[in-house]
């Protein structure tokens, strides 16, 4: 009984302490069901972890909504959070389709949105908005640096594969443009039916007989697992490169030995040897008992931007929208800042190879760093 009273007193004390600050109301808008539910959970964990680590969970009231990877649902949830819950800021959005559906509403309502995943190039290009800040990546940004890098490794001909939807096309456009500009040749490529392709055998045989020096692909989630395993089982001797989502730490274990030697580029690798990242990975592992993925870091950095803006004195929608893109800091993925021309992130892209660690589990070896990769304005006018 005494304990209960003590706890109640403590809670009351915390509540008082909480009200001493002006609370910021945050609408977290992510998929918690459907294809991308795993990403939604990773981003949420990263976001909450940053608030807890800073000891500031009491400063923020969080309302979570599920977008289900459906653009109309995403828009409805954005409306609900903005009009009904009256949040000060929105954080999240995994699917570019959902972002596209929400864009005009968020822009019109003047609510700041921190994009924690959706990589559509156009979102910080022709349809950019001063209210939308992206702290994740753009599809072109992750792949473009790999063009010159691959060519410098002596690769002169590549064959590309990706799922047949907007992100697949943008990822491949990023690599092919840069690779050709570097002097390389695209000998062939294919876009596989998205969500319907489970057997990549026919495409792998085509890639193998194309005469390419290397195969460059973008796949994610279940498709990435199937693709890498099947690539391994066919014993194809053409080396495999790709966008780093292919061998994301989130599911690389399911790919098994087939992933060893696959080299990809991404904006975050959990084995980065910087003091910021080592400390982050250790603390994250202690709490969640798993290695943080790039998605967790995107959520983490979204929270960092938000806290940075509040620290700079932002209190309402207008001041937050102004302050969020001003925040820059060095975090787990290295130095990051927001490009004032597009509100897209400027960050390092790391080339990493998946290797077998000493303990028999797959891990990542960073082989190269391309610093401060910045997207062109792509028709963005703030």
């Amino acid at each position: 009984m005494r304990n209960k009273v003590a706890t109640a007193a403590l809670l009351a004390g915390l509540g008082l302490a909480g009200t001493a600050f002006a609370e910021t109301k945050v609408g977290v808008i992510l998929p918690y069901s459907g294809t991308y539910a795993a990403l939604g959970n990773e981003i949420t964990d990263g976001f909450n972890f940053a608030l807890e680590e800073a000891g500031r969970t009491a400063d923020f009231t969080i309302v979570q909504e599920d977008t289900e990877v459906k653009p109309p649902v995403g828009l409805a949830m954005a409306r609900k959070l903005v009009l009904e819950d009256e949040v000060d800021v929105l954080v999240g959005v995994v699917s570019s389709g959902v972002l596209g559906a929400m864009r005009d509403f968020v822009d019109g309502a003047g609510v700041p949105l921190i994009v924690a995943n959706a990589g559509n190039d156009g979102a910080t290009g022709e349809s950019c908005s001063p209210f939308i800040t992206r702290v994740s990546f753009s599809n072109g940004q992750v792949n473009r640096p790999m063009g010159q890098w691959l060519f410098d490794q002596g690769v002169s001909k590549i064959y590309t594969l990706a799922p047949d939807y907007a992100a697949g096309h943008q990822m491949i456009a990023g690599i092919t443009g840069a690779f050709e500009a570097a002097g390389g040749e695209i000998v062939g490529g294919e876009f596989t039916p998205f969500g319907q392709t489970s057997d990549f055998g026919p495409y792998l045989i085509n890639a193998q007989s194309s005469g390419a020096d290397a195969i460059y692909v973008f796949y994610a989630g279940g498709e990435a697992i199937s693709f890498v395993k099947q690539y391994g089982s066919f014993g194809i001797d053409t080396p495999l490169y790709g966008s780093g989502f292919l061998t994301s730490p989130l599911y690389v274990a399911a790919e098994g030995e087939a992933a060893v030697g696959v080299t990809t580029g991404l904006h975050y690798v959990p084995t980065l040897d910087t003091p910021e990242n080592v400390a982050f990975v250790e603390a994250f592992q202690a709490k969640y008992d798993r290695t943080p993925s790039e998605f967790a870091v995107q959520g983490y950095d979204a929270a960092k931007l938000l806290m940075g803006a509040v620290d700079a004195g932002a209190t309402d929608r207008a001041s937050l929208a102004e302050a969020i893109p001003q925040v820059s800091y060095t975090g787990p993925r290295g130095p990051l800042m927001i490009d004032p021309a597009t509100n897209n992130i400027v960050q390092n892209i790391y080339v990493y190879e998946t290797v077998m660690g000493d303990d028999g589990t797959l891990t990542q070896k960073v082989v190269d760093t391309i610093e401060a990769v910045q997207d062109a304005a792509n028709g963005c006018e703030m």
């Binding site: 055998g201 279940g222 697992i225 099947q230 014993g235 989130l250 599911y251």
Partner: protein
């Protein structure tokens, strides 16, 4: 495109056909015998993969998983049979489709709760990993195993259905249920047994496919569509129809992906439409 290319694509097509066969035979026989459209069949395939992955983790053996997963899926199927399917037999196709379609989502959410949202993989056993040298080409050993497994199931089902008394009873019940009952065949028990075999094959397909594909919550729905196309093209209820349909769909999907990738997504649907117009009962329907 040399000879090796064509041989590899031929093997790819055969392997995919075998997977489709394992799934469609259960679906088509259940329909032929029970007049029941069990859309939850795809969900049973998904459960086979997930249960197989857990069973392999617990026992440390792929082979144990290959046996345990079909058994577990059969038990789940039996529960479904007594709680829902038997009661819905006279409810009409619309109710059956609605209930079993709903079951898919129930099972997807159960899998999400039990196994999480991250896609999972299963490693092939050591003897079946790597590639086998076939002279002109080398081909993944595990895929050869899948082709062998499918051929074996096909042979067993063919012998049972065409050469044994049970097979004769099943064929008689498909042909004319009332007459079969009049001749003293216990149609109810027979139906239940056939339903269980169909579920076991769906579970077997799931666990056998897991090392090639990955286990995702979407796998049950995405495989359901080609499986239904196989059943419709082949003709509802017949073993021969399922075999022929599987090979037609498997070969068209594989070779269109390899040669005409732009058309890969639509060619099977064109074929489906053509069959529905020209032979609405399928190429080899069970009832003459």
């Amino acid at each position: 495109m040399d000879a090796g290319f064509w041989i590899l694509q031929f093997l790819n097509a055969t392997q995919f056909s075998m997977l489709l066969f394992l799934l469609s035979i259960g679906l088509t026989v259940i329909f032929g015998l029970l007049h029941f459209v069990n859309l939850a069949h795809g969900a049973l395939y998904m459960l086979g993969a997930y249960i197989g992955i857990s069973a392999a983790a617990w026992t440390g053996s792929f082979w144990a998983a290959l046996v345990l997963a079909p058994i577990a899926v059969t038990l789940i199927g039996a529960v479904l049979y007594f709680t829902l399917i038997d009661r819905l037999r006279s409810a009409g196709p619309m109710n059956q489709v609605l209930v079993t379609f709903g079951l898919i989502f129930v099972f997807i959410d159960l899998v999400r709760i039990g196994w999480g949202d991250v896609a999972l993989g299963l490693n092939a056993p050591q003897v079946l990993s790597g590639a086998t040298d076939l002279g002109i080409v080398s081909y993944p050993t595990y895929r050869l195993f899948l082709i062998g497994l499918g051929a074996m199931v096909m042979a067993i089902l063919w012998i049972v259905l065409s050469k044994t008394q049970i097979g004769a009873m099943i064929r008689a019940s498909v042909e004319n249920e009332a007459m079969a009952k009049a001749l003293g065949i216990n149609v109810g028990e027979l139906f239940f047994a056939v339903f269980c075999v169909g579920c076991a094959l769906a579970g077997l397909a799931g666990v056998a496919a897991a090392p090639v594909l990955s286990a995702t919550t979407g796998m049950g729905i995405s495989i359901l569509i080609p499986t239904l196309i196989v059943v419709v093209i082949g003709g509802l209820g017949s073993l021969e129809g399922a075999i022929v349909g599987s090979f037609i769909v498997g070969f068209i999907e594989t070779f269109s992906a390899a040669i005409l990738p732009g058309l890969a997504a639509i060619l099977t649907y064109v074929l489906l439409a053509a069959v529905l117009v020209l032979r609405p009962r399928g190429l080899l329907p069970a009832r003459a």
